[in-house]
Symmetry: C2
Subunit: 302 residues, 2 copies
């Protein structure tokens, strides 16, 4: 299948790039390399696997605009670093207190709470270090690089993903409410799925209608993704998911399932996916990768 081959091609580039990061770490670094323990802690979580959907979306969006894939790669890796740092901090005892992530002990279980905090801080910083170092080499037009990085920073930031984490923290054991759930999903999940799509397009100088259509696609895909995750937390398989089932309910989390019930949530995921697919109708076959990705994501639930 073309979709799967394409996904694997983007994924291989991302994996290869990430695998080589910080292999110059020294115990007491005299250069601008990171200290060895920090590099180990960052790499532990960054290389723990996962589908790498976010960086793959950035590569696909850059490809859509005919940006050379190698030039887009540092930005794709940066988005995965941001996603990973948020997971490390989210698992800390002071936050969700999860001991298991992707089937392996969480970062703080292996490296301790202090080092896990610094590994998270380091991955967020490294995301911007990586993008800005790439931007400084001039392969991407500087104005386009700035617009792409700005998009990522805002959607990963205090009005985006971090803001979503705060709403999540504050929503535990509160009465479920539709407005709150929508903004929680938008910020906590959809923003960091939309960001790499728009950033990939912006690297290629996209503007106007393209950005607005793909923003709708990203919102549909992102909301569907979170709703599917909420469903899998109830009906999923611990081994496949790499984390315990039922942890949302245990934490009193606000989720699509807690608000709409399982069948209502499944229906919502289908509708969000349809919204995503519809948004890219104007692009016909050229957008096939994106529409197939949305349908494939939905199929995780079946």
């Amino acid at each position: 299948m073309i979709y799967e081959k394409q996904y694997d091609e983007y994924l291989a580039l991302v994996d290869d790039y990430i695998e080589k990061l910080w292999d110059d770490a020294e115990e007491l670094p005299k250069t601008d390399a990171p200290p060895l323990t920090l590099a180990k802690a960052m790499r532990y979580s960054l290389l723990a696997g996962g589908k790498r959907m976010r960086p793959v979306l950035l590569m696909a969006a850059a490809d859509f605009m005919s940006v050379p894939l190698m030039a887009a790669l540092p930005y794709a890796a940066a988005v995965e670093m941001i996603h990973t740092y948020s997971l490390i901090h989210d698992d800390l005892p002071a936050m969700d207190d999860d001991d298991l992530r992707r089937g392996k002990p969480s970062n703080h279980i292996v490296f301790g709470d202090g080092m896990a905090i610094l590994a998270g801080d380091g991955l967020q910083s490294a995301a911007f270090e990586t993008m800005l170092s790439a931007a400084a080499n001039g392969e991407i037009k500087p104005e386009n690089a700035i617009r792409a990085m700005k998009e990522i920073s805002l959607r990963a930031g205090i009005g985006g993903m971090i803001g979503g984490q705060v709403i999540d923290l504050e929503s535990e054991d509160r009465q479920p409410e539709a407005g709150r759930l929508f903004y929680l999903q938008q910020k906590k999940t959809a923003d960091l799925i939309t960001a790499p799509i728009l950033a990939g397009l912006l690297l290629g100088g996209a503007s106007g209608a393209i950005l607005s259509d793909f923003e709708k696609y990203g919102a549909g895909l992102g909301h569907a993704f979170q709703v599917i995750d909420d469903c899998l937390d109830v009906i999923g398989n611990q081994q496949e998911l790499g984390k315990p089932i039922g942890s949302d309910a245990e934490h009193g989390k606000l989720t699509a399932v807690s608000l709409y019930g399982l069948s209502g949530a499944k229906k919502a995921a289908e509708e969000f996916t349809q919204d995503a697919v519809n948004a890219l109708a104007p692009y016909g076959e050229k957008a096939d990768f994106f529409t197939e990705l949305a349908n494939y994501s939905l199929s995780r639930m079946r």
Copy 2:
């Protein structure tokens, strides 16, 4: 005195800019504003006072290159956000476990550990959000903005300040050693003092000799600053410092005092300051602000 008047002018601009940040926060934000609690936690530490030496240095360096002060301001504020996030995370129970900062309860004492982690994450993100939003408006030449942001990201990052925090964490209760102390000071402190100086210059397109002279100045000032801090932790006044005296020794920290003793450390601070002043000799009166700042910083110890 011209120096003090100049410092206060830069400081007033920075304070005014920072005071207005995130005043559009909403409890459940529907815009890209941050949630109210997050804004409160970030503002609590950002507005807790301090000399704001780092952003002032950026303003002075930008001024040195005739960059309009208003165009430099977002970058200056960003450096203060990075400094503040590192203090919030450093005070956490999993790190230095300090209850008091600048004479007030630490962030996690007021807002809880989870929110303090998110407030720190938010401030690091907001630093890049702020700089990239400014860079996108085009007042600074895009290439120069990228070089300035890159400098800040690398020196605040895993091979700079964050790396220094890791060395600090790993140096507790270990045998004092000169090489380790030097890299600890360079990364933990001097890098985030050098970064705003070089970034301010880069905003104005500086290159070559100017960057290299000011890098030497920044290293001298930064090392002196940390050594002076180490001395004040022994001979200082709790009320003036806003934190308990003797906490370094209590934590078994590697400091200039633990390695060289108090009089050896004082001598080192004087030598580092002299290195800083000497580095700017080629610029004569034009660099007076910087040399006076170095001498004033040393006078804290007397």
